[in-house]
Amino acid sequence: MLKYTEDHEWISLDGDIATVGITDHAQDALGDIVFVELPDVGTAVTAGGDMATVESFKAASSVYAPLSGEIIEINDSLSDDPAQVNSEPLGAGWFVKIKLDDPSAADALMDEGAYKALIS
């Protein structure tokens, strides 16, 4: 089950590992993605802090860490094919995997219904 942030990131939780990406609503608002800059593996991220940068048409935007933890994997394929964020934002367009400091913190994020209400 996916959880969502107000900054339009999604997470998929598997134990204490969160896979993170941006929502379909976010990619649609950004438009065609030119470039994705991801953090290095091993980077510590803080909930709400800058985690990655997405460049679309003449604009670059921050992607924020939904929860605190350590980056344990990044989606290298985005460097060659950033358009995956547009075509499969909830699948092949994922950004990073984070080993969470506190997996229970995910309970405070929105479920799909709440997120849909946010963007409606």
Binding site: A29, G31, D32, I33, V34, F35, T53, E55, F57, K58, A59, A60, S61, S62, D81, P82, A83
Partner: protein, 369 residues
């Protein structure tokens, strides 16, 4: 010629101007001392809806190229921009701010890498060639600088890919956003990039050889009939809704990159050197909070914003609108403004002093939802 433009040699025609006039252009503006069509359809709204659904052919020759060639080409360009261009690859198009020693915006071109010693800067409306020549001379760089015989023609809109695949081959579909490839046209090899000044998708052909211009226009025009093609030009509604800025309107040399949402393009940690580095470091350290935002405002369709309109909150001026128009999709007026304390004022009620009335509005993030 209409519009009160005193046509002379100072205002340059393009290779497509004859085609544009035959297609029924209703007026021109001038960018980089060159004609840019400004309207065709009976209204900007009709032009807008067509652009969102079909395909349009735009004469954007005024996006002049500054060609930088030679062993110091990369060094010269890096000195002009705070964006790190070191990892740029062949077939990349890269959006870069160009700034002066005070951190003021000189231009916001797209940089195209042709090879390690040859680049094009596809510029907005300011004299980048003169700036580059001055730096090259002052620094003693080994470069050649010129405005080449290259005239971009844009094909914009959701049907542009299908049209160009039919004309030039299916490899067009494989060109990623802000990358370029090549097409063959009348025995010549021409650069084509997936880019353009709209958010509706499309391509720009950087036609080399002005003499080929009328034929290229006509070829695309005829093939485009099956796709409901029309002549077009950058659309003000689509541009503002999409949060696309115009050099000379939303930014001038009085603005720094942070104010126009280009801060993320600026490396200020000292790992690269460029003109204006220390200025940007000081601006960043000062915690300036001025930043561009969208403005939604009332009062029915607004007039043309030819001089900035004050934006106030609780009686205090917090910025000025530099571009504005009625959005038929949002059914409100939309504008762009650099706002003091932008984060604090976003989402807050404001007043806009239009020429005809003072009306209510609100500050919004860009692009407009």
């Amino acid at each position: 010629m209409s519009d009160g433009l005193n046509m002379s040699r100072r205002i340059r025609r393009t290779p497509y101007t004859d085609n544009v006039q035959e297609a029924g252009v209703r007026g021109f503006t001038v960018v980089n001392h060159m004609l840019l069509p400004k309207a065709y359809q009976p209204s900007v709204e009709e032009d807008y809806w067509h652009l969102r659904e079909h395909v349009q052919l735009w004469d954007v020759s005024c996006q002049r190229q500054v060609q930088v060639t030679g062993p110091d080409a990369k060094a010269l360009i890096q000195l002009m921009t705070p964006r790190d261009i070191s990892r740029m690859c062949y077939n990349d198009c890269l959006y870069i701010p160009i700034i002066d020693a005070q951190g003021g915006m000189i231009n916001d071109p797209v940089l195209i890498k042709l090879n390690d010693d040859k680049y094009w800067l596809s510029i907005a409306d300011s004299d980048v060639l003169l700036y580059a020549k001055g730096i090259a001379y002052g620094k003693g760089f080994d470069v050649d600088l010129c405005e080449p015989d290259v005239f971009p023609l844009a094909i914009q809109g959701p049907k542009s890919e299908a049209l160009l695949c039919r004309l030039f081959g299916n490899h067009i579909a494989d060109i990623s956003f802000f990358k370029y490839g090549w097409i063959s046209f009348r025995g010549t090899k021409q650069l084509i990039a997936r880019s353009g000044y709209s958010r509706q998708g499309g391509f720009e052909i950087y036609l080399k050889g002005a003499h080929l211009g009328p034929a290229l226009w006509q070829t695309i025009w005829e093939a485009g009939q099956d796709f409901n093609i029309t002549p077009g030009c950058p659309n003000l509604i689509e541009r503002i809704e999409g949060g696309l800025f115009s050099y000379g309107n939303e930014m001038t040399s009085q603005n720094n990159p942070f104010e126009v949402m280009l801060g993320k393009y600026c490396v200020i940690d000292g790992s690269i050197d460029y003109i204006g580095l220390s200025a940007l470091q000081k601006i960043a350290a000062s915690g300036s909070t001025r930043e561009i935002r969208g403005i939604l405002f009332d009062g029915g369709p607004c007039p043309t914003c030819s001089i900035p309109w004050p934006v106030t909150r609780e009686g205090q001026e917090i910025g000025t609108i530099t571009s504005a128009i009625w959005s038929p999709r949002l059914e409100r007026n939309v504008g762009l403004a650099i706002i003091e304390n932008a984060e604090g004022n976003t989402g807050k009620p404001i007043e806009v002093k239009r020429p005809d009335a003072t009306v209510s509005g609100s500050v919004s993030y860009l692009p407009f939802a």
